[in-house]
């Protein structure tokens, strides 16, 4: 078993490295608070803006909250939200793409034109617009990001279904008396998983980044709940006066997580043609 695992890793160094980064950050976010038992919300104005010391390894922010505790708690929120966004958007998007690819005709045309309409907006702008319309908050931000990811999945899924459906072994399955539902689940879907997994892992990175971006502009997670994006915003105003630690630590973790996700996505691609790997355009990093 270890031998097989070793061979698996050897063939996918990039993906494994990316996965390791993600695992380390997740471990830091969930295991960390068990060791570092400090309330991320407890305010202490006497100890505000302290630089990193052994009492506060990541320093404290403008109202004296411990940055390390906040970064860890924010990690939990960001990772969970990103996974939820990826999963929900994936199920909806793949469902639409599958239906369009299998049905064809009017249903395909209508759904794909709607997807085109969503794609007409840059994803970040779309997510921004939806969460503005729904009102600031974690849920509406997550919903907006979820909707903005649907087109990525739907387009890719449709083209994958069209590709696989035309392969001769699908016809052979029909000739052996397979029911249409069985042909879809046994012969078509399994051949789309790989590409969809690549897409999903790049969406995780996109979701974290966009959630942070929305938090950064004040639309996503609201204060005082810790979230990397909002922490970067609040840290921004102190960078010039020398209190760099408030924004840099969450920024570094965000950067590492996104890089990890993208490494997984690229690494899983491996021998897959480049054209299949074009994921969502990466949203600009908050300055």
């Amino acid at each position: 078993m270890w031998r097989r695992a070793g061979r698996f890793v050897a063939g996918r160094r990039e993906a494994t490295a990316g996965f390791a980064i993600v695992l380390v950050i997740a471990g830091f976010s969930w295991v960390g608070p068990l060791v570092w038992r400090v309330n991320p919300l407890s305010v202490s104005l006497l100890s505000s803006l302290l630089p990193p010391t052994s009492r506060h390894p990541f320093g404290t922010d403008e109202v004296g909250r411990d940055v390390l505790a906040r970064v860890m708690s924010a990690g939990q929120l960001d990772i969970l939200a990103a996974l939820a966004i990826t999963a929900v958007g994936g199920v909806i998007g793949m469902g639409i793409g599958l239906a369009a690819g299998l049905r064809g005709g009017v249903a395909e045309n209508v759904s794909m034109r709607l997807i085109d309409a969503l794609l007409a907006f840059p994803p970040l702008i779309l997510a921004l617009a939806i969460s503005v319309a729904l009102g600031a908050g974690t849920t509406s931000a997550a919903l907006g990001i979820t909707i903005s990811t649907i087109p990525f999945y739907a387009r890719l899924m449709r083209s994958e279904v069209l590709r696989v459906r035309a392969l001769p072994f699908v016809e052979a399955a029909e000739a052996s008396g397979g029911r249409p539902s069985r042909i879809v689940t046994r012969h078509i879907l399994p051949h789309t998983w790989r590409v969809m997994a690549i897409q999903a892992s790049s969406v995780v990175g996109y979701a974290v980044l966009t959630l942070a971006a929305l938090g950064f502009v004040g639309l996503g997670v609201q204060v005082p709940t810790p979230e990397w994006g909002t922490m970067i915003t609040s840290g921004l105003s102190y960078v010039l006066s020398g209190q760099w630690w408030i924004g840099v630590f969450p920024g570094a973790l965000l950067l590492a997580l996104v890089i990890g996700c993208n490494l997984v996505a690229d690494g899983l691609g491996g021998d897959t043609p480049v054209s299949l790997l074009t994921g969502p355009r990466r949203a600009p990093t908050p300055e």
Partner: protein, 344 residues
């Protein structure tokens, strides 16, 4: 109660006869660049023949003559545009999707090219067991046993059941494809170019296997071939197609030893054979090796542009010849064969 088809004794009680009546399939071509309607491409037109139960009927013809389209129409994978296929008391062309699915238990097709018709993600055992699962035959344990038995029937080691198609040779893959079709114990097996994707040395093995199975299982074959040497080896009757229509039909020996239609003559002459002078075959095949366009077909006989018999008889240029019975059991679509009797 689940029925175990493998245990059915091979009593050589063969299935019903297959009758193809006036079958046509037309495709719409690409829209012309500037204007006009999409051209109609007739892959097959007005094909009729009868396949006797228990026999091996070969459909021969060159690339593009419509052999595969014909096979796909008979197997229900392509909807013909006109005509019908009757198999015993079932009109196959009138079946609904689900009725067709249920009919596939008795009528199987082995598609061309075993390199692409096996799902690369599945193991050999899963591939061969799939038809059984589709028809809910037996318990998973029974199926395992049937798969082993069928693999042995087609000459594969049952231990190969765990392998993926990628690990197999071409001949082994074709045997897997064959096992997948045979595991249901069909009455009619359509084979689309069963050996053309294989090495010549493997071709002979697979052909022998097909003949053995035919004797042992008592089923009917409909074989699509382009290689007359293969047709000679396995078929007992032949349908010769040219440009989507039947030009000659009859017992295989008679056609191959005494071809009547000028196209069949050319085919036979071009087919290499030990001890035969090579030059006449080459010369005959060399003349106009291009099939007439399926879109712009000549008026009259479709074979006229390549025909060596015609001396410009008006009938050849105006009337599409119908199949005429020139000898008992032999039908030919030519105004001129046998030579001289141009009685359209």
């Amino acid at each position: 109660m689940p029925v175990a088809p493998v245990s059915r004794p091979s009593t050589l009680a063969t299935g019903p006869a297959l009758e193809v009546v006036d079958l046509s399939k037309a495709y719409l071509g690409a829209r012309p660049r500037w204007s006009g309607a999409r051209p109609v491409i007739e892959a097959i037109r007005g094909v009729s023949f009868r396949a006797a139960p228990g026999g091996i009927l070969g459909i021969v013809g060159e690339t593009g003559s419509g052999k595969s389209t014909l096979a796909r129409c008979i197997a229900g994978l392509t909807q013909p545009s006109a005509g019908r296929v009757v198999w015993g008391d079932v009109t196959l062309t009138a079946l609904t999707r689900e009725q067709w699915r249920l009919t596939r238990r008795r009528l199987q097709i082995v598609l061309q090219n075993p390199y692409s018709t096996l799902d690369p993600r599945m193991s050999v055992g899963q591939i061969v067991a799939e038809p059984l699962a589709n028809f809910e035959i037996g318990t998973p344990r029974d199926r395992l046993e049937m798969v082993r038995e069928t693999l042995a029937t087609v000459g594969l080691a049952p231990s190969l059941a765990g392998s993926r198609p990628a690990a197999l040779s071409g001949g082994q893959r074709q045997r897997v494809a064959l096992a997948r079709a045979l595991v249901l114990r069909p009455e009619l097996l359509i084979l689309d170019e069963p050996v053309s994707a294989l090495d010549v040395s493997v071709q002979a093995q697979v052909l022998n296997l097909l003949l053995q199975l035919h004797r042992a299982l008592g089923l009917s074959y409909l074989v699509i071939v382009h290689d007359l040497a293969v047709a000679r080896q396995v078929c007992d009757s032949l349908v010769v197609m040219f440009a989507g229509a039947v030009v000659e039909e009859g017992p295989a020996d008679a056609i191959l030893s005494r071809p009547m239609h000028p196209y069949t003559r050319q085919l036979v002459a071009a087919s290499p054979e030990i001890g035969k002078d090579r030059t006449d075959g080459r010369a005959a095949a060399g003349d106009a090796a291009r099939p007439p366009g399926a879109v712009h077909r000549p008026i009259g006989c479709r074979y006229r542009p390549r025909c060596q018999l015609t001396q410009g008889e008006p009938v050849c240029g105006t009337v599409d010849p119908e199949l005429r019975e020139l000898e008992p059991g032999r039908r030919v679509a030519c105004h001129l064969s046998p030579e001289g009797s141009a009685d359209g």
